[in-house]
Amino acid sequence: MARGAAVSLAVARIGAALLAVACAVPATLAYAQSSTTRVIPLDQLKSGLAYTGEDVRALQADDFANPGMLWVERGEKIWNTPAGADGKSCASCHGDAKSSMKGVAARYPAIDAKSKQLLNIEARINASRSGDQKAPAFAPESEDMLAITAYVNMQSRGVPVGVSIDGAAREHFERGRAFYYTRRGQMNMSCATCHEQNFGKRLFAETISQGQPNDFPIYRLEWQTMGSLHRRLRACLYGVRAELLPVGSPELLDVELFLAWRAQGLKGEAPAVRR
């Protein structure tokens, strides 16, 4: 009897030891310490601009040569053009975007007060468009959607990114963070594999950036056109041969919130030029 008890106690001890090891492993990763632990310290954040070349930096800095400005100009026209059943334009309610939209994009994604949903700037614009203007919503990645976001986001040029992850946003943040650190696809890589563990190093001819979202929508030379953050994320998913999530999907929206939190303090650059 006594012997049997000793054996089962020993088994229990081994079990407890294994359990302790199992718990200790994830705890050693920076990821598991706390969900708001910053892997890249705030003072070491770098915009994607730092990883481009001299030519790309010059193209972005020149407000005439920057091809993104063609979309900005189109966006300005959309802003001032009445649309929908009530014949209202964006300007009818918001006035001059240069003042009313200053810093707005830097706060998104955010929980919408009316719908209680997490909305990025694209979804927020479409909410106004279909709800207030009673006009058809812009299709994702359409020229008009890229133009109006380029125009609105440009008003946050130089404004530091700062999103809230409090309240209802917290669960989106946690999901986005879990997505960011989860290995996926045939290449079995997470976002962090490149953008936190290997930024600054070469991937073929390119320099890996920190994957910061402060510059969207971007004119990407590879695309020869403008694209949103979600299009860029899809390009990464394609690169690691993972499931391509649709633009505007809840998963990408959650990652967008995590990325914006991660980029806190980086200044807005839209419309940026990237390779």
Binding site: F64, A65, P67, L70, A147, Q224, T225
Partner: protein
């Protein structure tokens, strides 16, 4: 809607050369690409772009598939009289475009 942007100095001096810049929003589809299901994408590039200074042809550009999307052209003209600089171009899709900008010559 906002198919092009033109930049000219606000005022130029007679006899001086001045820079004209035009950026055009155009996909410049080469005709060599295929879509997601393998169907060829029809070529659609700007065919010819003509710039006129007060009605006189100043520049003609024959574009082709080799041009990048959203082309930017920069060139110099000699200032004559005040008036306008006009651009006209068409593409393979048959769309015609026109943009103009005023030029003010002093002296």
């Amino acid at each position: 809607m906002a198919d092009a942007r033109i930049q000219i100095a606000p005022q130029v001096k007679r006899g001086d050369s001045f820079e004209v810049k035009i950026a055009i929003r155009h996909a410049m589809e080469t005709g060599y690409r295929v879509d997601d299901v393998g169907k060829p994408i029809k070529r659609n590039v700007i065919r010819a772009l003509v710039c006129k200074y007060n009605g006189t042809e100043a520049l003609r550009v024959d574009m082709s598939s080799g041009f990048a999307a959203n082309p930017l052209l920069q060139f110099w003209l000699v200032a004559g009289n005040s008036g306008e600089i006009s651009f006209e171009w068409d593409d393979d899709a048959g769309t015609r475009y026109a943009e103009r900008a005023a030029v003010t010559v002093a002296g």
